[in-house]
Symmetry: none
Subunit: 204 residues, 4 copies
């Protein structure tokens, strides 16, 4: 079995790549993931189908990179410190602030359709799922882990707590409510999560 020669990336059309990203994101937002066909992306981007298949292996792959690109742009637009979690010394306040911002983002329709679509595809398509997690999700989670480690240094979190697990106490519930629509999300909800996570639900 011979692989066909890899295309020459230095000759790649930047214009086409941007157009494809834009078309993919727009279509997922407007028509939903299932109606976002490779053919429709190509047509909307004014691009031949082969140009998509030359550089990506599937529509999920296109969407993943389009979304990463979007996230990168958004981060660069937002400020120098892309997605750092503030460290004012007040852990509860810092986490609440970041989670409130996350709630805003999750409810932003520009982000909702593509990230939901990617998450869904990632569940079933293991390769894509690992990409999704390692390139999008885990970096975000590591920011929380870092903040928790800093809090440990300041004595605001117990030393024997594993930050990588601890962060899931407030991140995962929010993720599940949003992804699976098990219940609505709100500032009050995330504030509550932070309180419960910090102090537990058992009587003190």
């Amino acid at each position: 079995m011979v692989d066909k020669p890899a295309p020459d990336a230095s000759r790649r059309s930047e214009k086409s790549r941007r157009a494809i990203y834009a078309a993919a994101l727009a279509l997922v937002g407007e028509a939903g993931y299932p109606k976002t066909t490779v053919e429709a992306i190509a047509a909307r981007a004014g691009v031949g189908k082969q140009t998509i298949y030359r550089w990506w292996s599937s529509k999920a792959d296109v969407l993943l990179e389009a979304f990463l690109d979007l996230a990168g742009q958004a981060a660069r637009a937002a400020g120098h410190q892309p997605d750092a979690i503030p460290d004012t010394g007040d852990l509860a306040a810092d986490l609440k602030a970041v989670l409130r911002a996350t709630v805003d983002e999750l409810l932003d329709p520009r982000f909702e359709a593509p990230s939901r679509a990617l998450a869904a595809e990632g569940l079933v398509n293991e390769a894509l799922g690992r990409e999704f997690v390692s390139r999008l999700l885990e970096p975000q989670l590591q920011l929380y882990a870092a903040r928790l480690r800093s809090a440990q240094d300041a004595g605001h979190v117990r030393r024997d707590v594993d930050p990588r697990i601890a962060l899931e106490l407030f991140v995962s519930p929010l993720a599940q409510r949003w992804l699976q629509r098990t219940a609505p999300i709100s500032y009050a909800y995330t504030d509550t999560l932070v309180e419960y996570a910090l102090h537990g639900i058992a009587p003190r």
Copy 2:
């Protein structure tokens, strides 16, 4: 516009229904969700395609009912109390036990493929997602809520805690790790989740 007359459920072939469930579950397990086409289910079940479309609206719908059927059978096979959470008076122990059982179930390959597939489809297909949540997920979650309420009565959980939120502290992290493969799951992990959730991560 007239709806087509609803099919007469009393004449429905029980044998075909069972065969379709079995075929759908087997195919999802063997070939994965995307290759599980309605045509393949019909062929494997020895059934006409129309027989599927007469009774279900999509392959996701078939799979949902097949899975509910499977879950029901498993529950009935397991014992009288289908999925109740034990109440020994020791909340931490009870939760750890149930979560350990859940870990076992999540790692059972018979359950993995279909439930992952359903969850994925539910992310993107809102109608199916709501069905999935209300018929499968929420009933499970309510068992936890009930156990937490019982713990509140026994003074093991603070009165001002919302059980529906509190349960997410340990359920959602497990769900996310499994669904999105963000990290491995184990008994130690779920035990830790229960500890953190009960007592918080802040110094006591």
Copy 3:
């Protein structure tokens, strides 16, 4: 290697078949053979592509059957004796009459495009070529052979002449002029061919 099960011809849609024939012939006439794509035939016939591929192996195959159907219809419309060559006892006159009719037919635009297209495809595609010859061309040629044999019985053609070869003296020149456009065709031309073929070009 397993062949896929042959489709059940008894369930075939007569309406679709007719629509496909009509579309194929119309497109070849209007747009030429290369622009007559399977996709275009399907679209014009209001038919799914698969319905074409289910019953034919290529557009050439479709066109061959469409043309045979057309020829059959034309023959049935013309009279009871489909394509017989008259036998008035005057061989020269009979041949000239039939060849003049052939000239008319070859110049009829309804016939020209499809038969030219089929002949061309048959040159390069041996399987189709043999079909074309055996189902369309050879039956016609056998009519000439029969007429020549009858002439032999009447003493108007030498006994030692092979009718299958002799008929080519007037048929092949006409065919070549028409197919390859080596020179124009006319009644005078075919009349001349008959004269030369009967009496030779050497001095008597």
Copy 4:
């Protein structure tokens, strides 16, 4: 609308031209006409596609010139008199000899695929067909016409016979049998054609 500037023929790469001819003829012979794509010719010739499109308008055009080149080479290789018909004074013998040589050539696999392919394309593509006829076919036919005119001068063919038509009596049948595979060709067959053409099929 301006035509693009004509390429400068003086800078043309002779090596590429030869490589393209060779690749085209080889591919038609090996893979058949439909699989002989411009891309394949370019790849095999070690040439950019644009180099083909710069000098030719289509693959049929390439093949036509490649074949003319081949024919020219063959003629030059064969002897000084490229394709003249001998004139020994015995018309029948001369024609039989030339036709026997033609039979040999038509059965030579080196010639068969490309000439059949060109003839086929010429049927459907009128422009190419006229090129094919005027540059390849008609010059050959004119040699026969000349020989027949010489025979008329010698009194071996009737004065009132049109040589351009007469030659078709033996040339066209051979051409048709070969091109359309209506029947096999052989020396006996072409000898017979000459006999019939000279003396007719009617009793003398």
